[in-house]
Amino acid sequence: MIQWTELAVFSVLFAVITVMGFMAARWQRGSTLDHLDEWGLGGRKFGSWITWFLIGGDLYTAYTFVAVPALLFGAGAMGFFALPYTVILYPMVFLPVLRLWSVSRVHGYVTPADFVQGRYGSSLLALLVAITGLVATMPYIALQLVGLEAVLRTMGLNGTGIAGHLPLLVAFVILAIFTYQSGLRAPALIAFVKDILIYVVILVAVIYLPARFGGWSAIFDAADTKFQATEATSDNILLTGNNQLQYITLALGSALALFLYPHALTGVLASRGRNVIKRNMMALPAYSLVLGLLALLGYVAIAAGVKPITNNATGRADTNTIVPVLFDNEFGSLFAGVAFAAIGIGALVPAAIMSIAAANLWTRNIYKAYLRRDATPRQEAAQAKIASLVVKLGAVLFIIAIDPQFSIDLQLIGGVIILQTLPAVAIALYTRWLHRWALVAGWVVGMGYGMYLLYLIPNPNAGRAHFGGSALALDKLTLFGWHPFTGSPVQIYVGFVALTLNLLVAVLGTLVLRARNVAEGADATSPADYHADEGSERLKPVADVSVEPAR
């Protein structure tokens, strides 16, 4: 049944952000939109507030808001890893991200692969980093659609077949057009609306709902009762002996991975200066608090007896609908409409940023590096705009043609594969000791081993033998048929294991290559580049149309 009031509120708010998206092209306008610095990085001049909303809107996505509570709803304490992950994240990246900002401003880098190209003079390594970024980002965009669709289906737009996907398609076409026109300025402006809505909804939800269900104590009791009743031993309101290591390594691995994603770096590179980034690293944990509270709504949903909606397109119960259903049941339809708009707009902001980041990667590191080396900045911008449309179309097709579960699995894999670029991107910010060919070898081995381990993981609940998650029982850990931990049910995050092997290969490879004096390529960056701040004459002018020096 269609919830008309909710739908009306949702549509009005959606119309507001559509207008904002188109007007954003004129906001803080630079000299031209025909340059990647302008279209793809908003003129590289965002201040502290805009950056806070932009990065916050980028990292804390609709999918996060829907999936993290769903994880607690289904698996208990393990799902709470999102909190430690976002607490250690900012202290961890505080210093490296500043170095990356400086070196990118000095040399005009737009993507992490640009930096790798400049640092190592290796187009193969840069291409690997670019492809990894693209492959990891695509399912992430598709996931935003999963979040958006969960909301649309809760509002009653739960059709079957292609008609069931129509509302999603409409929302995405609008998004595609204003991103094409306004570039990064569109999500930056809309992020204000998104975050204000999210904060209002969450504050109301975490104050009102616990009181309604007898306080936190009763809610945790209800969750405990549910988990005790199931046969599985892994779900519990505390960590079990078997998933503590997984909790730690997943939080750590996710934190290491996040700022390797091209879209996270897009927000950083769009900021005006180092102080803007520093202030943001202090202020962004405000979102962590919200995320933690939101996660607990998974338990509130248990206490409220929420039943997930069956997705009519796939015919299965979709636990991602539990938070929308909770809002639908417990709030008046006016406020539920606001909450749904918050989640829906929360899907569009990151989807726009991700598609821009993917378009930048394609343009800079594949189109310009291989297809058209003499492309002018104007042609680059035109190419990126078209690429952003293609990327979004691909994401929509992904959701329509393939089971959404597949994009959720791919996103899990995405974390594992993006981690494999850590040595070439993050470590390279500090030292060039690792040899470029050793980095290539480490990437190949880490990627292959990670995929192999993911293949070994079954998911008995979903009845699948392979790619059933990212938690690997140590029992299954194998290296050329050698099982170092036979019989151990303790779980660990696959990305962490693969990264360890990647680093090992990179270090050993470097020792061998250095002993043989293999050429290590030219470094276009100099030590002082990594400390340059706004106002310095070292910085390359924004939207500079002069021809780049030969790479």
Partner: protein, 94 residues
Amino acid sequence: MSKTSRLRHDQEGLRWNAWNLLLLVPFLMLVTPWFNAIEPTLFGMPFFYWSQFAWVPVGVACVAIVYVRTRDESSPLAPGAPTDVDDLDEGAGR
């Protein structure tokens, strides 16, 4: 992560500052056995959950202190005043 490599000071232009060590403090929250317990509860919330919320302000404080204490070093390079020959070379091209 790659913090140990900071010792290669002159070669990579790394700046050591002891205040930066504070950034390691939040990692202590990864020691799950310390807080994987129901009691003591706060507002009915098990220790496992509320103690992790308590780490959020700790993380913010650590980053804030580092930010304030390292602010003066932010641009020791005066604009356009390179410190060594390599920089002169690099600066001329851009």
